[in-house]
């Protein structure tokens, strides 16, 4: 009787759950990619010209930052499995710092646009025509949603790092670390497509 409702741990089950969740995320952004392709097709020239105003330099830097952060979190799994707890926490710390750096860059990037009166609902942006309104609408919405995912990912990673510190996550039981790694990589994957679609279509 007392053994009733004892939870059995099954790592593959929770990883399967995570993957299926990522599929949902993929289609969440997928909906936006549908909108993007339709409007880009209908406003090809305007999208082309509007994209030239984005800073390829900051975009490239941010891409590399995210790629490095993906590497560090992937390496932390190796570290925890080699029972190198300190190195794992260090790598997660690095991931968090890189994630924050991405957000700071994004903040300045958006700030520049706002200074030039490019933001949703701006009357100056509206004067530039429909194509620009759509391009920047999609740009702010998609990168904004992506940034929101970064913030959620950072919170996850922070929780994981604390759990490693408390030995709740260890070389025996690290599926939660793997799952937040998967989430973080997905955020990276989305960016891998957002970057060329917004910055490189010039």
């Amino acid at each position: 009787m007392s053994t009733i409702l004892v939870k059995h741990r099954d790592d593959l089950t929770s990883k399967t759950g995570m993957w299926f969740f990522l599929f949902t995320e993929l289609l969440l952004f997928g909906g936006l990619f549908i909108v993007y392709s339709v409007y880009r097709y209908r406003n090809a020239t305007a999208f082309h010209l509007a994209a030239q105003e984005l800073s390829v330099f900051i975009g490239t830097i941010n891409t590399i930052i995210l790629l490095i952060s993906s590497t560090t979190i992937a390496m932390s799994i190796t570290a925890i499995r080699k029972q190198n707890k300190k190195f794992a926490i260090l790598l997660l710390g690095l991931t968090i710092i890189l994630g924050l750096a991405f957000l700071v860059n994004k903040y300045f990037e958006w700030g520049e646009h706002f200074k030039e009166h490019i933001y949703p609902g701006s009357s100056i942006l509206a004067l530039r025509g429909h194509g620009d309104v759509l391009f920047y609408g999609l740009y702010f919405f998609m990168t904004g949603l992506h940034a929101l995912h970064i913030i959620i990912g950072l919170i996850f990673i922070l929780v994981i790092a604390v759990s490693i510190l408390r030995n709740k996550i260890n070389s025996d039981n690290y599926v939660l670390l793997e799952n937040s790694g998967l989430y973080w990589h997905l955020v990276d994957l989305i960016w891998i497509f957002l970057f060329p679609l917004f910055y490189l279509i010039t």
Partner: protein
């Protein structure tokens, strides 16, 4: 209960990750450089192909798909194809208006 299944996943050495990272950065820079050269309509296609190659690396190595049960890869491919099909069918309307 079912811990044996996890033993199959082997530990990826740090070096592999660093190699992959180097590859990803090179691909990113290539993509950026290529857009400087005017390739006409091919620009987007090439950028997307490079993005697809980069994602394959991330998926197979970082996300461990290479070492996981095949079910995950198959399901993922299915999901991506589904999304492509939905985009194609939607464009079927717009390309012919």
């Amino acid at each position: 209960m079912k811990t044996i299944e996890n033993e199959k996943n082997h530990i990826i050495p740090y070096k592999t990750f660093l190699f992959v990272l180097a590859g990803l950065i090179v691909l990113t820079l290539t993509s950026v450089t290529l857009t400087r050269i005017s390739l006409g309509t091919l620009t987007v296609t090439i950028a997307l192909i490079i993005a697809a190659i980069k994602s394959t690396f991330v998926l197979r190595i970082f996300m461990h798909l290479k070492f996981e049960n095949k079910m995950f890869s198959i399901a993922l491919i299915g999901v991506v194809l589904l999304l492509c099909a939905v985009i194609t069918i939607t464009l079927l309307d717009y390309l012919n208006r």
